[in-house]
Symmetry: C2
Subunit: 193 residues, 2 copies
Amino acid sequence: MTRIGRPRGKTDTRNVILGAARRLFADAGYDKTSVRDVAAAAGVDPAMIRHYFGSKVELFRATMGWPFEPADIAARVTAGDRGGDIGERLTRVFFEAWEQPASRAPLLAILRGAATHEESANLVRQFIQGQVYAHIATALAAPDAELRIDLAMSQLLGIAYLRHILRVEPVASTPVEELIERIAPIVCRHLTP
Amino acid sequence: MTRIGRPRGKTDTRNVILGAARRLFADAGYDKTSVRDVAAAAGVDPAMIRHYFGSKVELFRATMGWPFEPADIAARVTAGDRGGDIGERLTRVFFEAWEQPASRAPLLAILRGAATHEESANLVRQFIQGQVYAHIATALAAPDAELRIDLAMSQLLGIAYLRHILRVEPVASTPVEELIERIAPIVCRHLTP
């Protein structure tokens, strides 16, 4: 039975908010978009957004389909000293995320989506330039910290591309521990002056 | 004026051959597909394929949209000794290709296409596992040469993804010479035991 003109359900409201947020974040940028702007564009009360998503950063994360709590990841990567270990921790967190089917699927969707949709690329770019740098660059304490993070990420994302998108052998079926062993020193070298 | 039933022009024939080749290479694989198979699928004489494309490997390259002569690239990368220089040469050839608009456009199309189309990913995978390994792995003379090539390529493709697809700053506008200086030692380290 098709219901016509039924009242908006929870999923609908959530999706309308996500759609409006995706558009505004991509067009105006994360910094210039307020929860109030998104609420107005979606035709809901700002309280509704806080009810469904919590903070603005959480809303942004949901918009991208990012499957983690950013502060959580940042805490795991930057835990402890500022020394060479940060590269190893970043590599480990990265591979763990990609090896779990529950997080691999959304990560793959982000990597594929950004490759072909300008709006998605825009969101990912803002996520990196905002969230990632903010959380990791301070832990590095290097003047070129952001470029170093880009180079480290390029090594890691490149592996994800070859292993999970192209599925090129032998890297597609190399045991993850061997990859971590080979890649962690490279990521360390990128990150630490 | 719309022309109905006009005889096949040169471009049509070329495109019909390319379409048939793309399908067969993706489905049956490069090794198991002969020029004769492609001719049969396209409904043309094998001589026609040789006329338009030359060899089978040239046909494959055209199918992918690969903008270079593979043997040419291989010669430039593997020229000279087997030492650490191969990483520097590979890095330089890679960045030169991506910095020229004429070759950047088709390379970008391949990177994007493979991210979202299984058939394109399949072609790129065969290109790497066939052409790239064949040309570079022998120059490395290491038992794990193919994995080393994968890791080096992942570093380079990851940069292309961040710089040209996500266009993340600062890596999107870092001068290419600075990138080569930072990346070449990493690619060397991946390639040479």
